[in-house]
C-alpha cells in the first residue's frame, strides 16, 4: 500500500527482457526450500510491518512446530514477482493479498478456496470488523483470504502551521465540506496556505501564483480508486463506485455526485490552495514535500501513520475527513488478507499459518506494535492503546467505525484496465486539459468492459 515512487526502482531493471522471455510452465511444481515439509514461505510488502509479523511467526513456530520464512518485497515489485513466481511454480505458500489484485489471481485459478477449511475448523468470522471477511468472497462464493488488518483515511496536518493559521485542534476535528463553497474545510485549507509574501489564502492580496506553503497536498489523480486522494469527498457527497460492491458491473464516474466533488477538488488548484498536477507529479513524493514544510496538510491512509509521525522537524496531528453534504463523513474501508497459493506443497501447514495470522493471538501481537489496525475486533483496543503510548491520537481513523461511515473498498473484475482508463481521464482532468465530462467518457469505456 505504500505506493511511493522509489519502490518503482525495484521493478525497473531486469523486467524488460522478460516480455519476450516469459516462459509458461503454468502453475504447479516445486515449492519452497521445505525440509521435511514443515516449513512454509510467506510474502508481504510492507517493511514497516515486517517486525510485527516476524514476532507472529516466532509465536506460531513455537506453537505448531512449523517454520515460516518471511520474505518482503516493495509494493511495486511485489505483484510482478508474485506473478512470475506463479508462472515458475515457485510462488510463496502464503502471501499478503490486496483487494485490487485478488480478483485476477482468483479468476486465473491461483488461489486456494478456504471455505471448506473455514467450515471444518468452525472458524468464527464474526470476530472480524464487519464486512472485512466478505470482501474476500468472489461471485461464485469461494473464499480467498482471511482478513488481518484494516485502514481508513484521515487528514494529516502540520500542528504548528495550523496554530499559526489560528486553527485549534477542535476546529480541525469538526470540519465540514460541500462541493459548492467547500465549507469550513476549504476555509481551513485557505488559512493554511501561505504565499511568498506571507499572505494567507484567506486574506486579501493573496497571490495564488506564488505559493510558498500549500494548504492541501496533492499526490496524484488517484485513478479509479482515489483512496487517499478524493474518495472521502465523493463518497460523503453520495457517490458509490458502482451499482453494487463487491463485483460492480456498472460504474458511476459519470454521476453528478462524483463530478461535483472532483470539480470542487480541482478548483483548489485554481485558487492556489493545492499544487497543480504538474507540480505534484514532478515532486519526489507527497510525504517528502510535507516533511519539508511545503504542504500543510495531506489526506493519507492509516498505514502511513508511523511514517508521518516520525518525520523530523514536523509535528503532525490527525483530523478526521470532513463531514459532507449528507451530514456524514466518509472513508474507504480497506483491508488486507492472507491468501494461500493453489500450488502449495503444504496446504495444511499454510492453512494453519493463515488461521494464526487471522487469529486474535497474532493480531494482538501486531496490534501492540502500533503499525496497523487489526482486523479482529477485540485486538483494536490494544492497537489504539499502543498508538496512544507513542503519543499518537488515532481517533481520526477509528471515528469512522464508531460513526458507521466506512465504505468498503471497490472490488471488480478487469480492475487493471478499468483503473488505467479512469487514471488517464483523471490526469487529463486534473491538468485542466479536459473538464469533468472526460470522466463520463471513461465511464462508458469502463462499463463496456463488463458487457
Amino acid at each position: 500500500m505504500s505506493r511511493t515512487r522509489y519502490a518503482r526502482l525495484v521493478a525497473a531493471a531486469a523486467t524488460v527482457p522478460l516480455v519476450l522471455a516469459a516462459c509458461s510452465s503454468g502453475g504447479g511444481g516445486a515449492s519452497d526450500d521445505a525440509e521435511g515439509g514443515d516449513s512454509i514461505r510467506y510474502w508481504l510488502w510492507d517493511a514497516n510491518q515486517l517486525p510485527a509479523y516476524q514476532k507472529c511467526a516466532e509465536a506460531f513456530t513455537e506453537k505448531s512446530g512449523i517454520t515460516v520464512n518471511i520474505e518482503q518485497y516493495g509494493w511495486d515489485d511485489y505483484w510482478g514477482s508474485l506473478t512470475n513466481n506463479f508462472v515458475a511454480g515457485n510462488a510463496p505458500d502464503v502471501f499478503t493479498n490486496h483487494l485490487s489484485q485478488y480478483p485476477q489471481f482468483a479468476s486465473q485459478g491461483q488461489l486456494l478456496d478456504l471455505n471448506d477449511r473455514v467450515e471444518a475448523d468452525g472458524l468464527d468470522l464474526s470476530v472480524y470488523q464487519e464486512g472485512l471477511a466478505d470482501l474476500w468472497v468472489d461471485q461464485e462464493g469461494a473464499r480467498y483470504g482471511l482478513p488481518k488488518d484494516w485502514d481508513t483515511i484521515a487528514a494529516f496536518y502540520n500542528a504548528e502551521m495550523a496554530k499559526e493559521a489560528g486553527l485549534t485542534e477542535e476546529d480541525m476535528k469538526n470540519l465540514e465540506w460541500n462541493p459548492q463553497d467547500g465549507g469550513t474545510y476549504e476555509d481551513a485549507i485557505a488559512a493554511l496556505t501561505v504565499d511568498s509574501n506571507g499572505v494567507r489564502g484567506n486574506e486579501p492580496g493573496f497571490d495564488p501564483d506564488n505559493v510558498e506553503v500549500y494548504g492541501l497536498g496533492l499526490a496524484g489523480s488517484g485513478g479509479a480508486f482515489g483512496q487517499t486522494e478524493w474518495s472521502m469527498y465523493a463518497m460523503s457527497n453520495g457517490f458509490e463506485y458502482a451499482n453494487q460492491n463487491p463485483w460492480g458491473t456498472e460504474f458511476n464516474f459519470d454521476s453528478p455526485e462524483f463530478q461535483e466533488a472532483m470539480t470542487w477538488w480541482r478548483s483548489l488548484i485554481d485558487k492556489g490552495y493545492m499544487p497543480s498536477f504538474e507540480i505534484a507529479t514532478s515532486g519526489v513524493s507527497i510525504m517528502e514535500t510535507y516533511g519539508a514544510g511545503k504542504v500543510a496538510m495531506v489526506t493519507e491512509g492509516s498505514w502511513n501513520t508511523n511514517a508521518y509521525m516520525t518525520l523530523e522537524g514536523v509535528e503532525t496531528k490527525l483530523a478526521p475527513t470532513p463531514v459532507g453534504p449528507a451530514g456524514e463523513r466518509a472513508s474507504l474501508f480497506n483491508g488486507l488478507a492472507d491468501s494461500i497459493w493453489v500450488g502449495t506443497k503444504n496446504p495444511d501447514a499454510s492453512w494453519e499459518w493463515v488461521k494464526f495470522l487471522g487469529s486474535a493471538e497474532c493480531q494482538d501481537i501486531v496490534a501492540a506494535e502500533a503499525v496497523v489496525f487489526p482486523a479482529v475486533q477485540s485486538s483494536l483496543e490494544i492497537a489504539t492503546d499502543a498508538f496512544e503510548e507513542k503519543g499518537y491520537d488515532v481517533s481520526a481513523f477509528t471515528i469512522h467505525l464508531e460513526e458507521g461511515t466506512t465504505h468498503l473498498a471497490p472490488i471488480a473484475d478487469n480492475w487493471a484496465t478499468l483503473n488505467q482508463n479512469v487514471t488517464a481521464a483523471g490526469e487529463q482532468f486534473l491538468s485542466f486539459q479536459r473538464d469533468a465530462d472526460v470522466y463520463t467518457e471513461a465511464n462508458e469505456q469502463v462499463n463496456a468492459l463488463f458487457d
Binding site: L9, A12, V19, T83, T281, S282, E288, K294, A424
Partner: protein, 317 residues
Amino acid sequence: MSTTTKSPATRPPAAPPPRRRRSSLASSWSGSDLRPALLFVAPATIGFLVFYVWPAIRGTYYSFTDFKVLSAPNWVGTENYQRLVEDELVWNAFGVTLQYVVINIGAQTVISLGLAVLMHRLTRSMMIRGALLMPYLVANVVVALAWFWMLDYQIGIVNVLLDTVGIDRVAFFGDSAWAIPTIAMINVWRHMGYTALLIFAGLQTIPPHLYEAAALDGSGEVRSFFKITMPLLRPVLAMVLVITVTGSFQIFDTVAVTTAGGPVNATRVVYYYIFELAFSRFEFGYASAISVVLFLVLASVAFAQIKLLRAGESDLS
C-alpha cells in the same frame, strides 16, 4: 603453413598469392582449428541462443496468441496486430519514444563528439578522461532518482536555484512538454562520457601525420575537424550511432523510476507500455506483438544506419 591438398599442377602457373592464402584459411576450418574456434564462440553462442533467439521465437509465437501467463496461450491469429494498429496508445508510445530518441541522440552525439575532440586535441590527462566516465559508472536507477530529487518542483535544488536567480520554477517531470526532454537530457548526462570515449578511441586511429600535413598547408582546427576528422571518423561514428540509437529506443528505467508514463501519456514510451501491458494487465500476447513490432523497427533503423553511413568501409588506407 598448412599444406594444401591440391596439386600445384592443376593450377595455372602463376597462381596469385591471395588464392593460396584463402585456401589455407579454408583448410584450417576443416582442420584442427575448428574445435578451439567452436570452444571460443560457444559461451556467446549458447547465451545468444538461450537468452535471445529462443525467447524471440517464443515471443513471436505469443504475439499471435491470447496469453495471460497463468493459462495456456490461445491462438488468435493476427488479432493482436490488428488491435495494435487501432490502439492510439501504441502510436503515442512510438511517437513519444521517437521524440526521446531524437533529443537524446541529437544532444548526446554532438556533446560527445565535442568532448572526444577536446580530449584528443587538448589533454592527455587520465583524470579528466576518468571524470568524464563517472556518470556512466553510476547505476541507471540511481542516476534517475538523484535527478528526480534535484528537479523536484518544490524542494529540489535545481528549482531552488532557479528561484533565487529569479527564473520561474519548472515542473520538469510533471509538465507534459518538459517531461521527455528532461528524461532525455538526464540520460545524455549519464551516457555522454561513455560515448565520448568510444568516439575518442576512433579518433586515435586517425594518423597524426594527417593533421601535421594539414597544419603545414595552413588548415586551422575547425577546417581540419570537418575535412579530416569527420570523414575519417565516419565508420566509428556509424557504429556508435547504431549502438546508441538502439539503446535509446529501449528507454525504460528512467521512466519507470520517475514519471511512470505520466503526466497523462506524455512519457509512456514503448518499453514502458509493453511492461505495463504484460506485468500489470497480464496481456502478454498483445505485449509480445508490440515487442515484435519494436524489434522490426529497431532492426530496420540499424540496417538503414549501417547502409547510409557505409559503416563497413573506411576512407583510411
